[in-house]
């Protein structure tokens, strides 16, 4: 078998993807930023930067810092707003590009309104609900950290759209399986995980956190084993398709997620290091499948051989 004979298509909760490689929200802008570096059409698709109802500005700098094999970020809600996304960003993309819109807000009602606005907009293939936003009314805990808040959030967004709805889970929880079940029960079509892991680093000279915001989110290869563990646990807990995210920088990394039960993957921080990497991951996955005799990528999903009780 040759790589181009491998059937790369997958179905992510009703979103037909030409291959399982997407790029992650917040790491791929609104798509066109990457057109100098790769053919956007060669990807399974991309998840746009999370959108709020109104344009928002973010946190004061420093907003990013290096971490061992990763980075910390505290960007907050900065985005162009849903109207500008629909009016200016979507039309700049070819119809051949699969775009998933990510939504967030500081209140459940706001998530619902952004989602409603996106419903029926041509060029939006699905909604990803970013559950890692601080819930202002609940004192800033992430929606995705509280099963009740997550249930209410998913229910509201479900009622606001007919599009396929993916729920992006927060890793900052005790039981990812529980959160996965909550999202499934409220009508999610698929799950995406993980978002960045809550973290802190300190500048000993100034005796302050390195980020102006104090806490930040850790992403990059440092979190990959955590992400694999969570994807595997979530895949074991629910029947929904899963999109694996966390530290993916190569085809080999991506294949690990598929083996652990992910139907597709998202490449995040690695896009910064090499803005063409997602395209190479597509090619590399096909090569892996051909080499190992998998005619369909879908056959790789969950093919992990686990030890007894593992």
């Amino acid at each position: 078998m040759t790589p181009d004979q491998v059937d790369m298509t997958v179905d992510l909760g009703g979103i037909e993807l030409r291959n399982p490689v997407l790029t992650a929200s917040g790491t791929f802008g609104y798509g066109t930023e990457f057109s100098p570096f790769l053919e956007l059409e060669s990807l399974g698709g991309f998840v746009a930067k999370s959108l709020t109802l109104e344009p928002r500005t973010g946190n004061p700098p420093p907003r990013i810092a290096e971490a061992p094999s990763g980075m910390l970020n505290a960007i907050s809600l900065e985005n162009v707003g849903v109207e500008a996304f629909i009016r200016e960003r979507l039309p700049a993309l070819s119809d051949e590009v699969t775009v998933i819109a990510s939504v967030f807000g500081t209140e459940i009602e706001l998530y619902g309104r952004v989602t409603e606005r996106l419903d029926g907009v041509s060029g939006v293939a699905g909604i990803e609900v970013n559950a890692s936003c601080p819930h202002v009314k609940a004192g800033g805990i992430e929606f995705g950290q509280d099963p009740k808040a997550l249930a209410a959030l998913v229910r509201t967004v479900r009622q606001s759209t007919r599009l396929p709805m993916l729920v992006k889970l927060s890793p900052n929880v005790t039981s990812i399986a529980e959160m996965a079940r909550v999202a499934e029960a409220e009508g999610a079509d698929g799950l995406c995980l993980i978002n960045a892991v809550q973290a802190l680093d300190v500048d000993v000279d100034t005796r302050r956190p390195v980020l102006a915001n104090g806490l930040g989110g850790l992403s990059g290869p440092a979190i990959r084993p955590i992400a694999l563990r969570m994807v595997w646990q979530a895949a074991s807990a629910v029947d929904l398709p899963i999109c694996g995210i966390g530290g993916i920088a190569s085809a080999e990394d991506a294949v690990k997620f598929l083996l652990c039960g992910a139907t597709a993957v998202q490449v995040g921080t690695a896009n910064y290091l090499d803005p063409g990497v997602a395209g190479q991951i597509v090619t590399g996955i096909a090569e892996y499948a051909a080499r190992h005799g998998f005619a369909r990528i879908a056959d790789l999903v969950g093919a992990l051989e686990t030890p007894q009780g593992g």
Binding site: G26, K49, P60, R63, M71, A222, D274
Partner: protein, 308 residues
């Protein structure tokens, strides 16, 4: 498997039409001469290390052969990934480093692109240890360049520390109506001075805090004197260096009615406007992205006291 290695985008791939729009659509940080030529779209490429040379103190010069490099304008930069695409790819340090393009020249094998840097941390240390033939990931050219000086005007270039590297291409473009002021803690901290000295018709003045080269004192003191002696209209001031230096340069220029452009050097993760990590506070409110609205800003638009 080498995750980040692979063929770059072919050099003859036509630039996507939306790119220049994208670069220019960002709200400008100040009035700009519209005669600025359209910018080259960036490429991603594997740069091959030709040489890493000592430049005094902890300064180094890295020369990379970059296939498909389209050339750059004064003030533009590239993101260099020190370890990611080596034979054994590294994930630590992970992020690429923004570096001003010092100089580039076409050769038969691609462009030879030079960067001057100071070893300050793990990324730059790794780059300093790079061996000839090793590969460094390159994404560039990025950012919006220094605008042109108005017709018949003069200019003063003020460089401090590693910021000096950003000014070389500008010095070449603006000589012979440019004066260059360089500042550093000590002689060893100055970089690229011999290259600047070789630029025809460029007047150079140097200040070091310890007096080991040029005058003893701060480069901002030189600037005050130069501007006070300058004829009207005041020259355009360009600066790149540590934030306190650029803030002071902005103040000095403003007090004398001189237009001042500053090239900011924030931390960056991507360099092309997607991570939103490089935000600089601006007077009009909110933040501007240093990587694609800048790195060059009209100095009076920057909220210097809130800079990181």
């Amino acid at each position: 498997m080498d995750p980040l290695n692979g063929a770059g985008r072919p050099a003859n791939h036509p630039p996507p039409p939306e790119l220049s729009r994208f670069l220019l659509a960002q709200s400008p940080a100040g009035p700009r001469d519209m005669a600025t030529p359209p910018l080259h779209p960036p490429i991603r490429a594997d740069g091959t290390v030709v040489e890493v040379r000592h430049e005094g103190g902890s300064n180094r010069r890295i020369s990379l052969l970059v296939p498909g490099w389209p050339g750059s304008e004064p003030g533009q930069f590239a993101m260099l990934s020190p370890g990611a695409r080596s034979a054994v790819p590294r994930t630590d340090p992970l992020l690429p480093r923004p570096m001003a393009v010092f100089r580039s020249q076409a050769t038969d094998d691609g462009h030879l692109v030079e960067f001057l840097f100071k070893v300050t941390g793990r990324g730059t240390a790794l780059m300093a240890e790079a061996l000839t033939g090793q590969v460094v990931g390159v994404v560039g050219p990025l950012g919006r360049p220094f605008p042109r000086v108005p017709e018949a005007g003069a200019c003063v270039l003020v460089g401090g520390g590693t910021g000096i590297a950003s000014l070389y291409a500008l010095a070449i473009r603006e000589a012979p109506t440019a004066m260059l002021l360089l500042g550093a803690g000590s002689r060893d901290d100055l970089m690229g001075v011999e290259d600047f000295e070789a630029v025809d018709d460029l007047e150079i003045r140097i200040a070091t805090e310890d007096g080991s080269r040029g005058e003893q004192g701060l480069v901002t003191q030189l600037l005050e004197r130069v501007l006070d002696e300058a004829q009207s209209p005041p020259p355009t001031v360009f600066s790149c260096g540590p934030t306190p230096m650029m803030a002071r340069v902005a103040e000095i220029a403003a007090a004398r009615g001189a237009t001042c452009w500053a090239s900011l050097e924030n931390n960056m993760a991507c360099g092309f406007g997607v991570c939103l990590g490089c935000a600089a506070p601006i007077r009009a409110g909110g933040y501007a992205l240093v990587c694609n609205t800048g790195p060059v800003f009209e100095a009076s638009t920057v909220t210097w006291e809130a800079m990181p």
